[in-house]
């Protein structure tokens, strides 16, 4: 372990040297986080939160921070990852660098001054006091590592009572590299009182270079504000993807989030929501499409701190080949959170003999006047349903495809943003086509 930490320490020194100028204002913060990381070390399977996800392969890889200039890309190169530009503002980050040519920010968003880069407000006290305020790095090795190495980040602030009608699509792209590189992205979203916005966080790779993506996203949803959040992760199967998202919802705020975990070799998604004000609502859904040797892990936490809050959670997973997925969903209802209403469901489909599913839905309840429930199911496609379809002339694969589509569409449908839905349906049908080739082959 100490070898690994030393390697990261050396990387840190080298990075501080090479990026001397542009990160001067955050030197102390980064150094503190690095010290913290050295002390914590990477999590092991002996820790409860990482019991089912073994990252020892990840820690062995010799990741270094990216130094080379990103490739010049055109719209054509990235077209496959774009959501209809007529309907969304697009922010494109290539290998951790903002690309002005590829991005197109819609008028309503630019007028409100909503989207900024960390580097643009680097000397601003606002940044210093907010970044890391929701997701502290002291106890989390990956968050600490993120602060120490973070590249430029996206800072979205929607002013009071402002409504941004078009979704903001943030596309993080990884291009090819000679070495195994790592990227530490960071997003910070603040919705002030009564405002509304839609954010799409999107991670993809242009080719199969091995890399590590380590993201930290912090979100504040103010009083009566409404945030829709979609996360799509479709990186290549040689990428390790670790993400930590922390959202704080103030009173009567509404947070809707949908996670689509499709890509990466090892994918870990920590999604934590704090319902901090009376009457806050959270609706969380997720879809995992796991194939080949993938290991995908969703860890969610909904923390009911205030009374009269509602939360809904539905995660589904489809597993083929030797893939493995973990769902660990925890709902905490604090002592004062009376009149909480909470529902959590996890459903898994196993399509091959070697796939493994771990499902740990958890409830921790300290208040009495609550209504909470959770459920979890794991199984295969209903034989009777397949038989029914086949008796009407459909072949096995088509019948299976129909049923799988129906299973997955429930999550995609819940997104309810036309252009994004179209993108997600395409993603699903591509995945299914790929899977079918595997089954036939």
């Amino acid at each position: 372990m100490s070898d690994t930490i030393n390697r990261y320490k050396q990387q840190f020194k080298a990075m501080m040297k090479s990026r001397d100028g542009d990160i001067s204002s955050t030197v102390e913060l980064r150094q503190g986080a690095m010290d913290c990381f050295s002390e914590l070390g990477f999590p092991t399977t002996r820790m409860e939160a990482w019991r089912e996800t073994d990252i020892s392969q990840l820690t062995k890889r010799d990741y270094s921070f990216a130094t080379t200039k990103p490739l010049d890309l055109s719209h054509k190169d990235i077209a496959q990852f774009l959501i209809d530009p007529a309907h969304v503002s697009t922010v494109v980050i290539v290998d951790g660098n903002y690309s002005e040519e590829l991005s197109s920010i819609h008028e309503t968003a630019s007028k409100a001054g909503a989207i900024k880069l960390f580097s643009e407000i680097a000397n601003n006290e606002v940044l210093k006091s907010t970044v890391g305020s929701l997701a502290p790095f002291q106890k989390d090795a990956f968050v600490a590592l993120n602060i120490a190495f973070m590249s430029d980040g996206i800072f979205i602030r929607v002013p009071k009572n402002e409504i941004i009608p078009k979704p903001i699509h943030i596309l993080y792209l990884t291009t090819s590299h000679e070495k195994e590189v790592m990227f530490h992205h960071r997003n910070f979203v603040v919705l002030e009182e009564g405002s509304e916005a839609t954010i799409i966080e999107h991670y993809a790779s242009l080719d199969g270079s091995p890399s590590l993506t380590n993201v930290v996203t912090e979100m504040i949803v103010g009083k009566n504000a409404g945030l829709r959040h979609v996360k799509i992760q479709e990186e290549s199967d040689r990428v390790d993807h670790i993400a930590t998202t922390q959202a704080d919802i103030q009173s009567n705020g509404n947070y809707t989030t949908s996670t689509f975990l499709v890509g990466s070799r090892l994918g870990r998604n920590d999604l934590r929501v704090r319902l901090a004000g009376k009457g806050a609502e959270c609706s969380m859904s997720g879809l995992v499409l796991a194939s080949e040797e993938q290991h995908l892990d969703n860890h969610t936490l909904i923390d009911h701190e205030a009374p009269y809050c509602t939360s809904r959670e539905l995660f589904k997973g489809i597993h083929t080949d030797s893939s493995r997925s973990v769902f660990n969903g925890c709902i905490v209802v604090r002592k004062d959170a009376q009149q909480t209403n909470s529902e959590q469901t996890n459903k898994n489909l196993l399509l091959s003999d070697n796939a493994v599913v771990n499902s740990n839905p958890q409830l921790e309840i300290y208040a009495d006047d609550v209504s909470c429930s959770h459920g979890s199911t794991t199984g295969q496609l209903d034989e009777d349903a397949i038989f029914y379809l086949r008796s009407r002339g459909l072949d096995v694969l088509t019948a299976q495809g129909l049923l799988i589509n129906g299973f997955a569409n429930e999550i995609i449908d819940s997104v309810q943003i036309g252009a994004v839905n179209i993108y997600l349906y395409r993603l699903l049908s591509n995945w299914l086509a790929q899977m079918r080739i595997n089954i036939n082959g």
Binding site: E48, E52, K335, Q338, N348, L350, L351, S352, D353, N354, A355, V356, V357, N358, S359, N360, P361, Q362, L363, E364, I365, Y366, A367, D368, D369, V370, S371, C372, S373, H374, G375, S376, T377, T378, G379, Q380
Partner: protein, 482 residues
């Protein structure tokens, strides 16, 4: 009863010269645990050498282990060196001489539970006549069991009389190195029960520790082993609805069940040890490892438990479903009141084809009680068509208590079907109002609702136990509504 330190010191020193001499009268070992204590304990019980070695191996492994911290319970650390690991069965002269000397509160509880006077004496540890009813009943039962070839004896007796069976099965379900408390138990277990049901025998009666004459002083490290041979059937009852008089704070028991082809074991527990006073002082720590192995085809193990006592309960009766078509069941009611904490649940490990398991867990929290369900369902690769159904419901009474659910589900076979459901709710004010309006007191209403809530589990209990369990819940919940 005072420990004779000098004697023990000389005793331990002797070991190196001549081996152990056990003819010195010694009632209780001085507190502390080391290899010599384990040896001395084993020698005291005249155990064969392999068992001594087995204990020592467990002890050595225990030294390397750490006490688990993952359960959702909080307690002051236990000083393992402050416990005396052997105490000879107490003579009845030490106990209270008549019921007048027994704690009045305890007696009141007995009366509420409707326990006959003679039984009250036995439970409270009052010296009783040799001709006391249940003793003679027990003797009759023994001859009946003998006729069928059923072995039902204390563990120590079994070690002497049936060493080959003990050696064959001991530690095969819960290895001596399994976990911190199981290892401790393996090193220093005092006594317990041994049950052996021969091939094809349906045990003619429900076996209960209650009827085993020397059951009263099995000590704090109890070890139970039940073996059901091919095609046999047994129902075993452990514990008692009445609060037990007990001075030991730490209880670390181990229960092992082995069911061979077509065999069925039904294990029912009612646990009502001292839960501590209203402020959470005192009370028993109950850290138990219970596991059953369905080794044979079509075998079945069923656990039913009603947990109302102990300050802290840490207990996961589990089933290893090895044989094809084997079946595991877990029915549990856990109640925590005042400052009680319970972290309990089950593990169902599906290995064989067509294995089925059912989990029904009901948790009731009142006062400052914290109740956690922690369960694991693991469906391994070879477990074709495995089926699991889990249901965990929690009922909260009062706003200072907590109910938690931590299921772990691990599926490695696509033909498996598993379902888990959990819900948490409170008793509705409307329900209470409705009953009040019809002249039912709030306390009766609560007990009625709680009993209804637990019905599914009570139904699994043997008749007389079920009746007592209902009353027990009433008593345990007393004062939980203001």
């Amino acid at each position: 009863m005072t420990p004779k330190l000098d004697t023990v010191k000389s005793l331990t020193e002797q070991e190196y010269k001549y081996g152990f001499v056990t003819d010195i009268e010694q009632e209780t070992f001085p507190p502390g645990l080391n290899e010599d204590v384990v040896r001395a304990l084993s020698a005291k019980k005249k155990e064969p050498e392999w068992l001594t070695e087995w204990r020592l191996k467990a002890y050595r492994h225990w030294l390397k282990m750490e006490e688990p911290t993952w359960p959702n319970v909080h307690y002051n650390p236990v000083d393992y060196q402050a416990i005396s690991y052997y105490s000879a069965p107490k003579s009845q002269a030490d106990g209270p001489q008549s019921l007048d000397e027994v704690d009045a509160e305890l007696l009141e509880t007995y009366n509420k539970l409707g326990i006959p006077l003679e039984e009250q004496k036995l439970l409270a540890g009052v010296a009783v006549d040799a001709v006391f009813d249940s003793v003679s009943v027990a003797t009759t039962f023994k001859s009946e069991l003998k006729k069928h070839g059923v072995i039902f004896s204390s563990f120590s007796e079994a070690v002497q009389n049936h060493p080959e069976l003990i050696q064959k099965y001991l530690g095969t379900v819960v290895p001596s190195t399994d976990n911190f408390f199981a290892a401790l138990n393996a090193a220093v277990f005092s006594d317990g029960s041994f049950v052996y049901i021969p091939k094809g025998v349906r045990c003619p009666m429900e076996l209960s520790t209650y009827f085993r004459i020397n059951a009263s002083n099995t000590g704090q490290f109890e070890r139970t082993l039940i073996v059901a041979e091919e095609g046999s059937h047994v129902s075993y009852l452990e514990g008692c609805t009445a609060p037990m008089r007990d001075e030991n704070q730490l209880h670390a028991a181990v229960v092992e069940l082995v069911a061979l082809d077509d065999a069925e074991i039904k294990y029912s527990t009612v646990q009502n040890w001292y839960p501590g006073d209203k402020d959470g002082k005192g009370g028993i720590y109950n850290f138990v490892t219970k596991r059953g192995a369905c080794r044979g085809k079509n075998s079945k193990i069923s656990w039913t438990q009603v947990e109302t006592g102990s300050a802290i309960t840490w207990k996961y009766p589990s089933c290893i479903l090895q044989g094809d078509n084997s079946m595991g069941q877990f029915y549990s009611v856990a109640l925590t009141n005042n400052y009680q904490q319970a972290d309990t649940g089950t593990k169902m490990i599906h290995l064989g084809k067509n294995t089925r398991s059912t989990i029904i867990s009901k948790g009731v929290s009142a006062g400052f009680g914290q109740n956690s369900y922690r369960g694991m369902v693991k469906i391994m690769k070879g477990a074709e068509n495995a089926r699991n159904y889990s249901q965990c419901d929690s009922l909260l009474i009062g706003d200072k208590c907590g109910a938690h659910t931590f299921p772990y589900i691990d599926v490695r076979n696509p033909s498996a079907q598993m379902e888990h459901e959990a819900s948490t709710s409170t008793i509705d004010e409307d329900q209470i109002f409705y009953c009040n309006q019809r002249g039912i007191s709030t306390e009766d209403t609560i007990s009625m609702i709680v009993n209804g809530f637990c019905k599914e589990v009570f139904r699994e209990l043997p008749m007389e136990f079920a009746v007592e369990a209902q009353k027990l819940l009433e008593v345990s919940l007393e004062g939980s509504v203001g």
